[in-house]
Symmetry: C2
Subunit: 152 residues, 2 copies
């Protein structure tokens, strides 16, 4: 993709998140983009991201991907909603107030995971993002992130 990822617009001092901060060298460094009205992120689990069953991903990674992709989507969605250009104004900062994940099928560890977000609601400082996580076209988890905008 030639788009710049949502996370690449974060100012350096807030680019530290283990899940999505581009400056956290130990972290997952996920990258989220617009794909039409939805947001999209691809992530290849590392071999040690196993769960209690060999060959499958542990639930905490899935929760982390849904959380960070959801919060990033909220941030970009608010910028878009307000007609604010992320090139000239960094995206608003959001934190997760609540996270819900339904694990609907085991997630294979050797596939590239696709995480998709869609904005369900923008209301004041609160944004709700619905997220799915799929492998090989099969939905393995469904989640919801309630993100709240931080004061500037």
């Amino acid at each position: 993709m030639t788009q710049k990822a949502f996370q690449d617009y974060y100012p350096d001092e807030f680019a530290t998140c283990y899940g999505c901060g581009r400056l956290n060298q130990h972290g997952l460094q996920i990258k989220s983009y617009w794909d039409g009205e939805e947001s999209i992120c691809h992530f290849k689990p590392r071999p040690y991201h196993t769960g209690g069953f060999p060959g499958y991903v542990y639930g905490g990674l899935i929760a982390s991907l849904i959380d960070c992709h959801g919060a990033g989507t909220a941030s970009a969605a608010k910028s878009r909603h307000d007609g604010r250009d992320m090139e000239t104004h960094p995206p608003y900062r959001f934190v997760t107030a609540a996270l819900h994940v339904d694990y609907v099928a085991p997630t294979p560890i050797d596939e590239i995971l696709e995480i998709r977000g869609s904005v369900k609601e923008i209301k004041g400082r609160k944004i709700i993002v619905a997220v799915t996580l799929s492998a090989n076209g099969n939905v393995c988890a469904k989640g919801e992130v309630i993100a709240v905008q931080m004061p500037e």
Copy 2:
């Protein structure tokens, strides 16, 4: 503590989880114990477990701790409920069907976190565990894990 952790009873082939498997050398290797009617786990975040705000823990770690401690508690609770001794019979295996986390306050990264579980419901193969995560006596997150027992 002189108790053996729930996770130390898991058979080797299922001790691979990034969150709680004792054999996952890259993982968090959390340890959960009974503390009366509740279960308890202590965890010291690593310096790189930061969120988007320096000095605070990222939400995915909190979700992971709640998930793995909740599933471990379900497993031990089912053994206790059935009067099955984990010394002679390894605990039942549970997977997380759903996870919910409310982030109620920022979680400081330089404290030992205390994660406590209490069983809300045991019904057939399903167990619901309520979990709190605290730092310095202050609750930073509240969660709920719905765990489902795997066939043996």
